[in-house]
């Protein structure tokens, strides 16, 4: 070493270790306090008596958990006290210059929902598995879309076209399954349809350097127009093209008998199981394999990838296509996995919500999945609450998931950093 190190050595590897000024943000305790006060208002000003029943198992479950019957007022008071205690704990934590741990926030969130449901479900019963299963169903296409979005953006192409990919997948899978009579062929055709939409995105943004957001938006319009046109001109006149075939649910032996979890996760149809696989595959693939390493390199620093011999634009093209294929599967959920028939504009903005989940989930497959689940939960909560007769007008209940998303994005996520080269075309001489 002596020959190599000059006399006045600055050990170059030594990062200047700086002292750290601790920061504290009162955002979290304040938010908790607001919700605690809300809970307090519910149990006092909007007092409701009676009993609230939480049914933990539906009648077909293998293991029947007992119902939880809670006195509405009493439970409300107790939970409000617990919420207040958590708020104080959080405040104390911040006062001691420490961050409020995420799990505490999670516990608070769950308890608040329980408190709210108890209040809203006064003299009524709420089927908890139903609430959760419904949430999963509403989330499934969002998760597929979000996974497609994550892959595409990670490789450097902003994917606003998720809506188009979902819709394309839904349309083609319904038609192909009807024509061939095979659900499986339909499923594969959804992959292809999503990939084709994506390829248009890829060709225009990579080959022709058109702004990716522009292509995405326009593709959504194009696919909406095309499917609606064909639906009106062709499908409605030949019902044989839109027979409404569906996958039925498969119980996974053993697993499906686990109380609560079993019916929720393991009595689903194949599209949902494919979703589990997709989540795991995308997560492992992105962070543990050569494919993921290269993909992320291309999305972060395409020149660097190019200089080590990775074909940037080819990588982008194929991965964007793959992303479309995954989103196309989500489209198949609308038809083959859920409703059977294709309906005009049946995705109803799910692609945009999936896009929001991608950003909300900070371009991470797991977080994006969680974001999509949150959205599905909020949507289904709305359903459940309006059934148990919550006194809030239906429109405000319908607004709930969107407001929750705004609050979450504004309050929790804030500025987030996407893949550095996302949205930028790679131009090589």
């Amino acid at each position: 070493m002596s020959t190599l190190t000059p006399d006045v050595a600055v050990p170059a590897s030594e990062t200047p270790g700086l002292s750290v000024e601790r920061t504290r943000s009162w955002k979290a305790p304040i938010a908790l306090a607001v919700f605690t006060i809300l809970a307090l208002l519910l149990v006092t000003a909007a007092h409701r008596g009676g009993h609230s029943t939480f049914r933990l198992a539906s009648s077909t479950d293998f293991v029947k958990l007992p119902n939880a019957v809670l006195p509405t007022a009493g439970t409300g008071v107790v939970l409000t006290i617990v919420l207040a205690v958590i708020t104080l704990l959080a405040a104390a934590q911040v006062a001691r210059w420490q961050k409020v741990p995420l799990w505490l926030l999670a516990v608070f969130g769950v308890l608040f929902f329980v408190a709210f449901l108890t209040w809203a479900g006064s003299d009524n019963s709420i089927l908890v598995p139903g609430l959760l299963i419904g949430s999963l169903g509403l989330s499934t296409p969002l998760i597929f879309g979000a996974l497609g979005g994550v892959i595409s953006e990670r490789v450097g192409v902003v994917n606003v076209a998720i809506e188009g990919q979902l819709l394309g997948g839904a349309f083609v899978s319904a038609v192909v399954a009807s024509v061939t009579g095979s659900l499986w062929v339909g499923l594969v055709s959804a992959l292809v349809a999503g990939a084709v939409v994506s390829m248009v995105l890829a060709v225009f943004s990579i080959r022709y350097l058109v702004d990716q957001v522009i292509v995405g938006v326009v593709l959504n319009v194009l696919v909406t127009g095309l499917t609606s046109f064909l639906y009106g001109e062709v499908l409605t006149n030949s019902p044989g093209l839109n027979k409404g075939l569906r996958f039925s649910a498969w119980d996974i032996p053993g697993l499906s008998r686990i109380p609560l979890i079993g019916p929720l996760l393991f009595q689903q149809n194949v599209v949902v199981y494919l979703m589990y696989i997709a989540i795991a595959a995308v997560f492992i693939g992105l962070f543990r394999t050569r494919w993921g390493l290269r993909l992320r390199a291309v999305g972060e620093h395409p020149q660097a990838a190019d200089t080590v011999g990775i074909k940037v634009n080819a990588t982008r093209f194929w991965n964007v296509s793959l992303a479309g294929a995954i989103a196309g599967l989500g489209g198949a959920f609308f038809t083959l996995g859920d409703l059977g028939e294709f309906q005009k504009e049946m995705t109803a903005g799910a692609g945009y919500i999936a896009l929001a989940a991608v950003i909300f989930g900070r371009w991470d497959p797991i977080r994006a999945t969680l974001a999509a689940l949150l959205f599905g939960f909020a949507s289904n909560l709305q359903n459940v609450l309006s059934v148990v007769g919550s006194p809030v007008p239906s429109e405000f209940m319908l607004m709930l998931p969107y407001v929750v998303t705004i609050l979450a994005v504004a309050g929790l996520v804030g500025q987030s950093r996407g893949p550095a080269a996302s949205g930028k075309p790679y131009i090589k001489s």
């Binding site: 006045v8 050595a9 170059a12 200047p16 000024e21 543990r288 972060e300 660097a304 080590v308």
Partner: protein, 513 residues
């Protein structure tokens, strides 16, 4: 391995960036490639590395003609390149960066990260680097990042190594270390092509020197050639290499920085209790290895930092805690370190960039209207005055060369009534001719009685421009010393050691007296 380039020609549209260039690098030789900005050096190397396809000419390795369709081919043939702008993925770890492109995998296609780590450690040990394979690249100092680039090339067993301006971002010490590494590699039989603007380095390390200008080889030189000879070969005319300036005549105190602390987004104290005073008509150079708080210091003065404590008084008025606009209005001129990112709007025209900091009121705005005629006149004047070479004032600045971009920034910042001028890395990455010009303007500004702060990691520049030198280390000022302080003392200070002179401020005062 012997590298030979024969008659390489590369055209970009009408522009011939390389015009029949011949170049040979023998094994065990460091071949320096000198040339002004835009001379065509990087283009030539990119052709060699398979990033560009040559329009004419051939590449031979050990006398075998090669065809490189992409960098992959070049790498497989044994060519490695340390790029002018690092080609590292910032969010990846060192090991991931090193393995990228030739990853080993274990069962099921999983990445063999342990293998990559081992490789990084092995190469580090061989060359005496100290690089943690699991460190995230963007968190590493530039010097270390460059080592990662070298490890990357070595991990692929490169026999021909190209260094494209590797020293532009290094401290003198790091530069020395790098040159030691280059010698070591050379001695191991690697053929090295070394590109730089810095004549001192060339003479120190090169075995052979080729100079190109406007895409053509204009001559070869021996390492013994004088700076002036090399410079005039490069530029095609004689250049002044030292800054001509009269001794400073400092006036009253203009800027007082007192107990300044800056805390960054993750809570680190990046500027730690910095205090100094600055007089009218004086240049204070802030030296230091990059990343020791200089950037944040200048940004804090300008009001760009969010969490700042302490006081900054300009002519007795507090400017700390003010908005950037207020600070600019108070008469601060600022040349940011990263001109394309912070100094210019690339898609805007030269004229529009020249009014960027005066978009609220006169002289270019009246009652919400832009005064385009006045602006055009002003821009035309400035283009002439600062010799900004372009097709005209409506050229988007993104299309200008780096030196000309910097001139646009300078023209803008120096055309207000200044009470303080702060220039961060004013000559980074620009050519000798432009450096000369920029230095002259800075000194002229001082001579008008404006206090000037120059931040530079180049010791040459620091010593040439400064009336006093402040050295920063880990966010604090290690000492403020006179301009004639020897380089090695400055080097030690940059490494965090307090200067020998027990009381440098006293020394300074003596000088003033």
């Amino acid at each position: 391995m012997k590298l030979e380039l024969q008659g390489i020609t590369k055209r970009f549209g009408a522009l011939t960036a390389n015009d029949h260039i011949d170049l040979t690098a023998e094994p065990g030789e460091i071949h320096a490639l000198l040339g002004e900005n835009g001379a065509g050096k990087s283009t030539l190397m990119n052709v060699l590395y398979g990033l560009y396809q040559a329009d004419e000419g051939r590449i031979l390795l050990d006398d075998v003609p090669q065809h490189f369709a992409g960098p992959g081919d070049a790498m497989n043939a044994g060519i490695g390149m340390v790029h002018q702008h690092f080609m590292l993925v910032p969010v990846f770890t060192v090991a991931e960066n090193v393995m990228l492109g030739h990853e080993e995998t274990t069962f099921g296609g999983r990445l063999d990260l342990p293998g990559a780590r081992a490789k990084v450690r092995e190469i580090s040990r061989r060359f005496g680097f100290d690089v943690d394979p699991d460190a995230i690249v963007e968190e590493l100092p530039v010097g270390v990042q460059q080592r990662v680039e070298i490890i990357k090339a070595l991990s692929r067993e490169a026999k021909v190594l190209i260094f494209d301006e590797p020293t532009a971002v290094l401290t003198p010490q790091e530069t020395d270390e790098l040159m030691a590494i280059m010698r070591q590699l050379r001695d191991a039989g690697t053929a090295i092509v070394f590109i730089t603007h810095k004549l001192r380095e060339v003479r120190e390390v090169a075995d052979r020197i080729t100079v190109i200008r406007l895409g053509k080889v204009v001559g070869e030189a021996e390492p013994t050639a004088s700076n002036a000879e090399l410079a005039s070969l490069m530029v095609g005319r004689s250049v002044e290499l030292t800054v001509q300036k009269e001794p400073a005549t400092p006036g009253e105190t203009a800027l007082v920085v007192d107990g300044l602390r800056v805390i960054d987004a993750i809570g680190q104290v990046v500027v730690d209790d910095v205090s100094f005073e600055l007089h009218r008509g004086e240049i204070l150079a802030i030296a230091g290895v990059q990343g020791n708080g200089q950037t944040e210091l200048t940004e804090a003065i300008l009001g760009l930092q969010d969490r700042v404590e302490g006081r900054i008084l300009l002519d007795g008025r507090e400017i700390q805690g003010q908005s950037v606009r207020r600070v600019l209005d108070a008469g601060v001129g600022f040349v940011p370190e990263d001109r394309t990112e912070d100094g210019l709007v690339g898609e805007f025209t030269i004229a529009e960039n020249l009014m960027l900091d005066r978009s609220y009121r006169s002289p270019f705005v009246r009652r919400g209207w832009l005064k385009l005629v006045d602006l055009a006149q002003f821009a035309a004047d400035k283009v002439k005055e600062f010799d900004i070479r372009s097709q005209g004032i409506t050229t988007p600045v993104g299309r200008l060369s780096g030196g000309n971009q910097q001139k646009v920034v300078l023209a803008r910042e120096l055309s207000r009534d200044l009470r303080l001028f702060v220039a961060a890395q004013p000559t980074r990455g620009i050519d000798v001719g432009s450096i000369e010009f920029v230095h002259k303007r800075i000194v002229a500004t001082r001579d008008e009685g404006v206090p000037v702060i120059v931040v530079s990691t180049e010791l040459d520049e620091v010593t040439a421009l400064a009336d006093r030198i402040a050295v920063m280390y880990r966010g604090a000022i290690v000492g403020i010393v006179p301009a004639d302080t020897p380089r090695d003392v400055l080097g030690l200070m940059m490494a965090g050691e307090t200067p020998d002179a027990p009381d440098s401020e006293n020394h300074q005062k003596e000088q003033l007296a």
